[in-house]
Symmetry: C2
């Protein structure tokens, strides 16, 4: 079967120890044995066994990522950058998509927390995981509050909400609707709603937040957003909490004969590379995804190495000015 170090040693005529030393470049070795062992490895096509190494070193070189789904551009780009940053630091990535399946999320967390990985980056709610289970493993959260011990990396959601709302008010409209996820979920995206409501109130305008579950299918979302149009037939503008949903709304508006921007203004959220290129006309708030990934990895690695870090990192957002936010 697969050759082990002992086979290499035997072939090279040395002991396992010496072969191991060659493998890991440790200690003094004569050029001759060096060559013999290297040759033996070559001819046997030897590759060290990962499990055995992990067992001995008591680390796995793996980081777990738990996110709703990589098929959404925001999480896709985020995971892409996270994987890149982790690779730079010699970590590989185990990924779990938890959308639509709370059991799966719990299951994953339990298994990964059990020592399958050296650390964890989570972007989900983690309901049903007892706090003490986190105690043995470094964890970092992106855009989610997990518990007080776990550092959180997020962009400035409140500022983003202010920028978006302000932009629409500056465009001269007053009947502005906001869409967001269920407020029961204690996610940072709720700060966008808080900002929206604060700014609206500040201007003496009435805030209306339309709640929609992010995990709905496209078909279900379409139906919900059609309801939105029926509930607020005289709305003049929408601040939508992500760009994909904003694009669905653009389609619906089109079907219903409401022209954007002449007849309805729109601001989205996230500003992924993909969506900014696919729908460049959509005004949106850009989250610094790459930077969020960098910092998340930085903080996680520090925690793994036992170095203290801040417990909250809030990164700045930017307004991307498209054509959907002014007439």
């Amino acid at each position: 079967m697969k050759p082990k170090l002992e086979d290499v040693a035997k072939l090279a005529g040395v002991s396992k120890t010496t072969a191991s030393r060659v493998l890991n470049n440790r200690g003094y070795l004569s050029d001759e044995t060096l060559k013999k062992v290297h040759d033996a490895m070559e001819t046997l096509n030897y590759q060290p066994n990962a499990a055995a190494r992990q067992l001995f070193k008591r680390k796995t070189g793996l980081i777990g990522l738990i996110f709703p789904t990589v098929s959404n551009p925001f999480f896709g780009e985020l995971v892409n950058y996270l994987e890149y940053e982790l690779y730079q630091r010699d970590f590989k990535v185990i990924i779990g998509n938890s959308l639509h399946d709370i059991n799966k999320e719990t299951d994953y967390l339990n298994q990964l927390l059990a020592g399958q990985v050296d650390g964890l980056i989570v972007g989900t709610h983690n309901q049903g995981i007892e706090e003490y289970k986190y105690s043995h493993l470094p964890v970092v959260a992106i855009d989610r509050v997990v518990n007080s011990d776990i550092p959180i990396i997020e962009s400035d959601n409140y500022k983003g909400g202010v920028l978006a709302t302000q932009r629409l008010i500056n465009a001269g409209v007053t009947r502005i609707i906001h869409t967001n996820g269920p407020s029961a979920l204690e996610t940072p995206t709720q700060r966008r709603r808080e900002a929206y409501e604060a700014v609206m109130n500040e201007y003496g305008l009435e805030p209306h937040t339309f709640t929609i579950d992010f995990s709905l299918s496209f078909a279900e979302k379409k139906q919900r957003y059609n309801e939105l149009f029926s509930i607020y037939p005289d709305m003049e503008a929408l601040f939508v909490s992500n760009d994909v949903d904003a694009s669905i709304i653009m389609t619906i508006a089109n079907e219903r004969g409401r022209k954007i921007p002449e007849d309805l203004l729109l601001v989205g959220y996230d500003g992924t590379d993909l969506m900014r290129n696919v729908i460049p006309e959509l005004t949106t708030i850009i989250q610094p995804i790459e930077n969020m990934a960098k910092i998340a990895v930085d903080v996680l690695v520090k925690r793994i190495e036992g170095i203290k870090t801040e417990s909250e990192y809030i990164l700045p957002v930017n307004l991307w000015e498209g054509k959907t936010s002014s007439r």
Copy 2:
């Protein structure tokens, strides 16, 4: 630190063996010891060590996925489905994004092939990996030719090319341009080009394939596609090899004052859930992504279990009729 089975055994007043039996529900056990051991695990918050298990069982429960990048909707959705299917069969997923970095791809493959995983699903070119290295590990390829031993799962790219080209010809145009990746890469997407050329020739039309590297950034792609418009100022239609690029072309056409579809027809490729909802007006060829994932996992699992499989699976595609393919 982390409790091991021995600690559990000691606390419960039994041997490691018995504790292990309880853990794995094996053999006969008295209700009393069962309870004692369970209690001990509870109070210690015991979790079995993954590396030790892997070492003993000589399997990892992990499958490696190597794809260009999950930030592209096609691969994002594919990986999402793959992860889902694998989870159903008790496999976790290690992911490597190889875009822009051939060394990283090689590095990943070498490491994963070394036994870090029980199997591999690849969607990249794998240049520079010697064939024999694949010999120890079950591998399945999606949309790529790796080598003769490795089964390939793909959608019917030739048929897709025919459908797209035919659709445009039926719309009454003759100057139809096709875009695709470098033909030096022996990828199945080249069959779309072959189909395009065959159909064009069949109708006595002159095929023109515009080559563009898929791994370019958005900015670079924009520049390239602007060149395309300059090179073929009188083109009447485009068959673009993916939907994201098609959307970039829509933006450029718009900037250049070429109205779609009045002035330029367009057919894309891939038909991901995301793009079909974000740009429903784009006519495209739908690849059966979910099904490709299912079959890939199916075949891989069979190979892991030593069951023979076909060496090629070609899945049917469909035309999604939007508004960009007829006047």
